[in-house]
């Protein structure tokens, strides 16, 4: 048994195991009773013993019903626990930051997106695959432990000679199962890579269909698709020829064992040494001793997918979490002073520091813009300020108190954030704007939208402010998303604003609207702005430039303009 399975089994409350065990035992007892009654009814041509038989049958059905209910509930509980735990855990993002933080560059952001997709699959269909484990494998495991023993016990009391044969051959089932299983695992393991490659080809060519068509290769690939699918078939059937052997061997072992029991029974009946009812009982019960063990293998294979999902889930749950933050409250509503002292940030798995020895002071009410090429560390600087990324060294001081000491939730209440690529939550437009102020009245939402120059496009949406956005809802263009985020930040009324301009080129009208909204947002507040275009620089009192994680120059807005002039001359 693999550690994952043991860990899964440990998730079952002892109570549930005991109940399922008792139910399995009950099933075993009724099974024996059923065989007994049936044998007696046939041997004695006794129709009246069929009545209790019907009762026993009803009892078995009831026990099966209860078993499936208990196991189903256990499966649901285990899945709920895993789901809740996974929902509380971020995907693997750098610095122990909450999920959705871009890893400082676009490549990181896209890989985080893939991680989210995988996580969602795991949360839904992935964990559902655990059902066969809990409702199939676990009850069968208990039945395999209990039922053969009960059947053997009854056989010993009925006819010890037959019982001895069964007792000697029953262990052959797991032994043969394991032997054949190991052999086939080795054989199919060797072919696994080939099967994967051949099986994946169809998806590959479908994904590349536009390319194939562009280069006029569809006719050729049409043949290749069939050929490779044929090869896949040959390889698969080859592997199955061996894999199916295990059940063939088990079936033959069982059939031979039953024959070993049945032939002497028949001869003794013929000699009159044995009562017909005993003979029938032995005949009916003997296969039942082997059945649970044989079925266990099949149940186990059926739950393999769920076990793999559980493995993934445990891996996610075992990943270390980042720091939670301090506790010092700082309930001031005024614009804060922010000082970065020699801040260095390094993302796990990257040899280059995202920020290296950055020192910067933002006075209360001051608006600072950060410019520089992509990958320079601009966004990381903002994430540090938001407490989403923890510096490896250096300090961030808010009004003279270290950020690490502050109650993060408290601190964030004083910050509004306009991320570079805002997420559209699966809620109404109004709900998206209310993210930081869930109780804001409608007028304030509309006011925020108007300030962000977002009211125009919102009113043009099919249901205005009640239009549902996000996955499965309406989508917005990059510029519209950004303005929605501006409205969201505006509504919080936070004294510090952190704005990350989208690096994707916006069309001219969108850009103008965004700048207009941003200027209203930033008026009278402390702000740190990542700017990708000159227009936004006009909103800042000071511009700092970054390159390779370091601050390279700092000056007024006018300096940056001059820099632009020089560059233009050089190029012209």
């Amino acid at each position: 048994m693999k550690p994952v399975e043991r860990r899964l089994l440990r998730r079952l409350p002892r109570r549930v195991v005991v109940v399922l065990g008792a139910l399995a035992a009950g099933q075993g007892v009724l099974l024996v009773a059923q065989a007994d009654l049936l044998a007696r009814a046939i041997a004695g041509l006794d129709a009246w013993s069929l009545l209790p038989l019907a009762g026993v049958v009803a009892g078995r059905a009831a026990l099966a019903w209860v078993t499936s209910g208990v196991a189903g509930r256990a499966a649901a509980a285990a899945k709920r626990e895993l789901r809740d735990a996974l929902l509380a855990r971020p995907t693997g993002t750098p610095g122990g930051a909450p999920a959705g933080v871009p890893g400082g560059n676009s490549a990181g952001a896209s890989s985080a997106g893939g991680g989210a997709g995988e996580r969602v699959t795991l949360l839904t269909r992935g964990l559902d695959a655990l059902d066969p484990f809990f409702t199939g494998y676990v009850p069968q495991l208990l039945a395999a432990c209990v039922v053969p023993v009960l059947v053997l016990a009854r056989l010993f009391t009925a006819d010890w000679a037959s019982a001895l044969v069964v007792a000697a051959t029953v262990p052959l089932v797991p032994v043969f199962g394991a032997l054949v299983g190991m052999r086939t695992a080795a054989l199919t393991g060797r072919q696994w890579g080939l099967l994967q490659r051949l099986g994946g080809h169809f998806r590959d060519v479908l994904a590349g269909l536009p390319t194939l068509r562009a280069f006029g290769r569809t006719g050729h690939q049409s043949v290749v698709v069939r050929e490779l699918a044929g090869e896949h078939r040959r390889a698969t059937v080859g592997a199955l020829r061996v894999a199916f052997l295990s059940s063939l061997v088990l079936e033959l072992v069982c059939a031979l064992s039953v024959a070993l029991v049945a032939v002497p029974v028949g001869l003794r009946l013929l000699d009159g040494d044995m009562a017909l009812s005993t003979g029938l009982l032995v005949l009916i019960l003997t296969p039942e001793a082997y059945l649970p063990l044989r079925a266990l293998g099949a149940r186990f294979h059926a739950s393999a997918e769920g076990v793999a999902a559980a493995e993934q889930a445990f891996a996610a749950l075992d990943a270390p979490v980042g720091r939670v933050g301090g506790v010092l409250p700082r309930g001031r509503a005024a614009a804060p002073e922010i000082v970065l002292e020699d801040v260095t940030v390094r993302y796990p798995g990257s040899d280059r520091a995202a920020l290296e020895g950055v020192s910067l002071r933002i006075a209360p009410g001051e608006r600072v813009a950060v410019a520089g090429p992509s990958g320079a560390g601009k966004s990381t600087l903002l994430l540090v300020l938001l407490g989403l990324v923890t510096p490896e060294s250096g300090r961030v001081l808010v009004d003279g108190v270290e950020l690490a000491e502050l109650d993060l939730a408290e601190w964030r209440r004083r910050v509004g954030w306009v991320p570079q690529s805002p997420h559209l939550f699966a809620a109404s437009v109004a709900g998206n704007i209310r993210l930081g102020a869930p109780d804001a009245p409608d007028e304030r939402v509309v006011e925020a939208a108007r300030a962000a120059a977002a009211d125009g496009f919102i009113e043009a949406l099919p249901h205005g402010y009640e239009t549902v956005l996000g996955e499965g809802g309406a989508g917005l263009s990059a510029g519209q998303r950004q303005r929605l985020a501006v409205a969201r930040a505006y509504l919080t009324g936070a004294p510090l604003m952190v704005l990350d301009e989208p690096s994707a080129r916006l069309d001219l009208a969108s850009e103008r609207a965004l700048v207009e909204g941003a200027s209203r947002l930033l008026a009278g507040r402390t702000a740190l702005i990542v700017a990708h275009r000159p227009a936004l620089l006009g909103l800042a009192g000071r511009v700092v430039r970054m390159r390779n994680g370091r601050l390279v120059e700092s000056g007024t807005e006018a300096d940056a303009e001059t820099g632009g002039e020089t560059g233009r001359e050089a190029a012209a």
């Binding site: 049936l38 985080a112 263009s477």
Partner: protein
């Protein structure tokens, strides 16, 4: 269902063989029990060994044959299912290849669904059809055996079989389907909430909304659990009903047989045969449930296969040889329905444009300005709603689509790296390319140094979608492939994307200046190298807002100068 059957039909004989093996295996199981019951009960009447010898042989034969036949059935069934799968894959590929537009290659979900829809043909055969046939035949055989042993009991067995093989599967189909639909809807809702939590996690944290959204997600999970409990209950009910029907049928048959005055042998045969026969039809319930899941997939595949190929012009006009001029006359292209963008109504909104043959033109503009659509309209991938696109003076709408496609090639946003060797990926563009041509294209795309660094050089296998290559390496490979094709009109959509700015500018400049080759249209977001372009076209919201040479455009205020100043800011 027709869609899938069309792929199965060529293998009817094999399917029949697999079905026969399955039926024979089930019958052996039935025969084994019936013969064993007869043997034991008859032996108790002490008729002498000779009277039993046939039954003894039959029991042994059935026991061995059952396992072997089961083995044969499983192998033959998988073989035929995989043959049908291969055929269906080929047909689906052909149908998709004949269409003009695709499921977007970057839409992984649609792709995954398509692949699993096609794969469902295996389940249709292995988990629905073959078990159903075996179950039905075995049930009928059970009734026949009982009818011979004790005619009255056969009616009871038939009734039990109908209940277990028709009523229970029908209930499972109906109620299970409803519960499954509810669970699927809740699962979808949970996925959406989880995505909010995962992708919007940082924003939720900053805006103090994590708790609220996590609670909503947990609530979704709880509702999903509720829905799943119903499905589990249905499954449990099916199992319990199976037990009940099996036992009651056997008991009832025995009751009727005993009361009709049958002897021990007949009663034993009837009772035990009834047990096995009912057991054989129990899998019909799960087959019904599975069929319900397979049917929508089958329907989607059928719809795909039934879709007629796009019309071709009856007498296509030939394209001239050599580099071609490109003309746009009032071209208007509507957005894809699938586009998640509520702004704007046209991807291209009345574009007039002339690019003379052999010219090298750069196209710039905001994201969503229509740059990629412009390229797609030239290659005929996108049909204009109104207006005309001309290639070498010929209206593209009246040319053979295949000829247009072979004249207009290059690097598009949906370009794909196949799971094969680097060489194979390049040769796709020109199957008869020489090593020298390969290397020349690779040199221009800066791929050569990448190839030299790969463990197997040109014969290194790269993963599906270019796994194993970095973004920049992948881009170089795609560019090299486009350059190797060397078509009359070369279209390059962001050829230097994901490369460092210096290399990107160097490659772009070279593409715009190196002698030879056809007409070039190059979409780019970096302007630094565009002084080398014969002309720059600036798009904004589907319209050409500026055009001219780089230095002239910089000289006057406007969109291009704005873009240029933004670029300076980020370098």
């Amino acid at each position: 269902m027709n869609g899938m059957w069309s792929a199965v039909r060529p293998y009817t004989a094999r399917l029949l063989a697999a079905g026969l093996a399955g039926v024979a295996a089930e019958l052996c199981g039935l025969g084994l029990v019936a013969a064993a019951a007869w043997l034991i009960a008859r032996a108790a009447q002490q008729p002498g060994l000779a009277a039993l010898s046939l039954a003894i042989v039959a029991v042994r034969g059935f026991a061995v044959a059952k396992g072997s036949l089961r083995y044969a059935e499983r192998l033959a069934g998988h073989d035929v299912a995989l043959r049908a799968l291969a055929e269906l894959r080929g047909r689906v590929f052909d149908a998709l290849a004949a269409r003009r537009r695709d499921l977007a290659s970057r839409d992984g979900d649609a792709l995954t669904r398509m692949v699993s829809d096609v794969d469902a043909v295996q389940d249709l055969l292995l988990r629905c059809l073959l078990p159903a046939v075996a179950a039905v035949v075995c049930g009928v055989a059970g009734v026949v055996v009982c009818a011979v042993a004790a005619p009255g009991a056969a009616f009871v067995v038939a009734g039990g079989l109908l209940a277990a093989g028709v009523v229970v599967p029908w209930v499972a189909w109906a109620s299970g389907g409803r519960a499954a639909a509810r669970a699927a809807a809740e699962r979808e809702r949970l996925a959406v909430r989880a995505l909010d939590l995962l992708e919007g996690g940082a924003e939720l944290a900053v805006f103090g909304a994590s708790g609220r959204f996590a609670a909503a997600a947990r609530e979704s999970a709880a509702r999903l659990e509720d829905a799943e409990r119903v499905t589990t209950r249905v499954a449990g009910g099916v199992t319990a009903a199976g037990f009940l029907l099996q036992g009651l049928t056997a008991a009832g048959a025995a009751w009727v047989a005993v009361n009709a005055g049958a002897d021990e042998v007949a009663v034993a045969v009837v009772a035990l045969t009834a047990l096995v026969a009912v057991e054989a039809v129990l899998p019909l319930a799960s087959a019904a449930q599975r069929l319900r899941e397979v049917l929508p997939a089958s329907r989607r595949v059928a719809a795909l296969l039934a879709a007629p190929p796009p019309p071709r012009p009856e007498r296509p006009r030939p394209l001239p040889r050599g580099p071609l001029a490109v003309d746009f006359l009032g071209v208007r292209v509507a957005y894809d329905d699938a586009r998640d963008d509520a702004s704007g109504t046209y991807a291209l909104d009345g574009v007039d444009l002339t690019v003379e043959r052999g010219r090298r033109v750069a196209v710039v503009g905001a994201s969503g300005a229509g740059k990629s659509t412009l390229l797609a309209a030239i290659s005929g991938e996108v049909r204009p709603e109104s207006g005309t696109v001309r290639l070498g003076g010929q209206d593209v709408a009246f040319c053979d689509p295949g000829e247009v496609r072979s004249a207009v090639r290059g690097l598009t946003q949906d370009a794909h790296v196949f799971a094969t060797t680097v060489r194979g990926n390049l040769m796709l563009a020109r199957p008869d390319a020489t090593q020298a041509q390969l290397e020349a294209a690779a040199r221009r795309a800066r791929l050569l140094e990448v190839v030299d660094g790969l463990p197997g050089g040109w014969d290194t296998v790269v993963g599906e979608g270019g796994r194993g290559l970095s973004g920049g390496q992948r881009q170089r490979l795609l560019l090299a492939r486009a350059l190797l094709a060397d078509p009359p009109v070369l279209v390059l959509d962001e050829p230097a994307e994901a490369l460092d700015p210096a290399t990107a500018d160097e490659i772009t400049r070279e593409l715009l200046t190196l002698p030879g080759g056809g007409t070039l249209l190059l979409v780019t977001h970096r302007l630094a190298a565009l002084a080398a372009a014969d002309e720059v076209i600036v798009l904004d919201r589907g319209k050409v807002v500026q055009r001219g040479r780089h230095e002239n455009l910089l000289g006057r205020p406007g969109a291009y100068r704005d873009l240029w100043e933004s670029e300076l800011l980020t370098t």
